[in-house]
Symmetry: C2
Subunit: 336 residues, 2 copies
């Protein structure tokens, strides 16, 4: 199988992207990588390693965060990202695209070049977040790409999130909750009240309304949210975690005994840091609702993040994520 | 001046409520307290202390969290809370009501018995939250009472929140931000995009859109949010803080050196705990947009929380919070 990689997207491109791709070749004997980007630079970086399993697709242009996504996808035909999308689109044996480039351009490219799964009007990014339990993560869908959603969008988020979580963690019936301002069925705003019965009637393990406070409790697998609220959930948790760490640091610095204690506690602080960094574990997130696998990596991705993202793409492909989502949407639409 | 206290509302009623009221009498020579509740019980608790400055208003009934708020306010005439509302309503020299009882009943009573300030359709509760800076708090308005708001509601939240923060912290022009999913003016959902120009044209120090991640940064004084999103902000931050503390605790327990380190760090952990507990500092929150001061205390309030809440009511009264809000709404409505 083949995966196409945008070698010139991201803060650490192209070196870390290339090294990440090579790492994944080590692990998967049947994998081939297509690297999109400036040929000469890539050849130098590759130094002939894995020569028979790496193809370079020359693309001298780069899409940056300053480019308008739609413009860039339409006009920058020779950019590493557009080239990668064209390859994903035109080749059945290319199973996924991986990029750490501009989020806007990746999402726009996915919709314009690859297209949405039939019946889905709003694809979504679903980041993984840590919980307070050591080996338990939670998926948030949507995290901000889609604001002013309709109830049916939330139903699609639930179906896609459930299928994705199920494969990623090998869980049979992930617990799906609807973000609300109270647990009772009558709580919520107009949108969630209309979405509630749709989720209830869907072929998922719907556990009802969930308060924002509960999402890191470990009692829930998939949190469904309208994009604006989901964005608030994601960002405020990040902000709160950073604030606690900042308060801790400041206090440690100002007390001699605390400074000493912090040295003894280095293992704990390291554990905490690793636990909070879920991103590193999975590398990136697929753009759910798209016809093929488009993996969006964080701009700051290093080689390990890229390798994890490729790893994840293979897992999702082998477990037929796209087909499962297509099936779920089809069944639900037929029933409604 | 007189303040009426619902002596039978809250988990620690009546003892802690009574003791809290007496604490505030110690501090303010010109203060008189009216305690509502069962006469005999209150007399026993008072033991004749401050006899000339405490009046008991007999109210044998209690409103619990199980009562339907509207029903309770309408029918439980002899409850400590309804009695307190009647006293606040009928006496010009009673400047505020303090209760740690059922939130729903307090808010319903405030609207039904006291009424809204002219022009305000949706009063709001505005809790204070900690930031990562040691001496800087942030106000959130609305935190969940009002979902599916209109743009004008957000404008009112901004005006009320600004007036309240200004008095509470003695800050001339508090920085008011609008919760959104991006800082640029064009970011947001339909509601915030419509609210943005209203806030911009208001007589406040509007700093634009603010992401949820920033609200604990200390760079902002008043965060304006539609109730659903505000609730997510409040609850997810609580959840995230608790999750970090829980992960820390678990890790400390599992490493001997960390356990030792934690002992050295006890001062830091105590500081962190105090910093996070902003509630204790202010006791309660006023129900903003109401014609008189109605202070809602947390159900678990102890004597210090009650005393702080009374203290806050006196501060807000002396600095004419209600009149300032009335004025701001009048001016804004005249301009629109």
């Amino acid at each position: 199988m083949k995966i196409v990689v945008d070698a010139f997207g991201g803060d650490n491109a192209p070196k870390e992207i290339v090294e990440g791709a090579l790492l994944s070749l080590q692990k998967h004997d049947d994998l081939e990588i297509i690297l999109c980007g400036d040929k000469l630079t890539l050849e130098k970086l590759l130094e002939n390693r894995y020569a028979n399993r790496v193809t370079i697709e020359h693309a001298p242009d780069i899409i940056s965060n300053d480019d308008t996504p739609t413009e860039a996808i339409r006009k920058k035909d020779n950019s590493s990202l557009v080239k990668a999308f064209d390859i994903l689109k035109n080749n059945d044996d290319v199973i996924a695209l991986v990029s750490a480039g501009s989020t806007g351009a990746i999402l726009t490219g996915a919709i314009m070049k690859i297209g949405r799964i039939k019946g889905i009007s709003r694809p979504a990014l679903a980041p993984i977040l840590p919980t307070k339990l050591p080996n338990k993560d939670v998926l948030l869908i949507d995290s901000g790409a889609n604001v002013d959603c309709k109830p049916i969008n939330l139903q699609h988020f639930a179906l896609m999130g459930s299928a994705y979580y199920s494969i990623l963690y090998g869980v049979e019936n992930p617990k799906v909750g609807l973000l609300s301002n109270g647990v009772e069925e009558h709580k919520g705003n107009e949108l969630t009240k209309e979405a509630f019965p749709l989720l209830k009637s869907s072929p998922i393990n719907f556990i009802g309304n969930v308060e924002a406070r509960e999402y890191m409790s470990g009692n829930i697998d998939v949190m469904v949210a309208e994009g604006f609220a989901g964005n608030v959930l994601l960002k405020s948790s990040e902000g709160a975690v950073l604030a606690v760490l900042s308060l801790l640091k400041r206090s440690i610095k100002s007390h001699f005994l605390s400074k000493l204690g912090a040295i003894f506690m280095s293992k704990t602080f390291k554990e905490l840091k690793n636990r909070i960094d879920v991103l590193g574990k999975h590398g990136g997130s697929p753009f759910l609702g798209c016809k093929k696998l488009v993996m969006k990596n964080h701009g700051s991705s290093n080689r390990n993040n890229i390798a994890s993202s490729i790893e994840q793409a293979i897992l999702l492909y082998n477990n037929k994520l796209i087909q499962k989502i297509e099936k779920a949407i089809e069944v639900t639409n037929a029933n409604s």
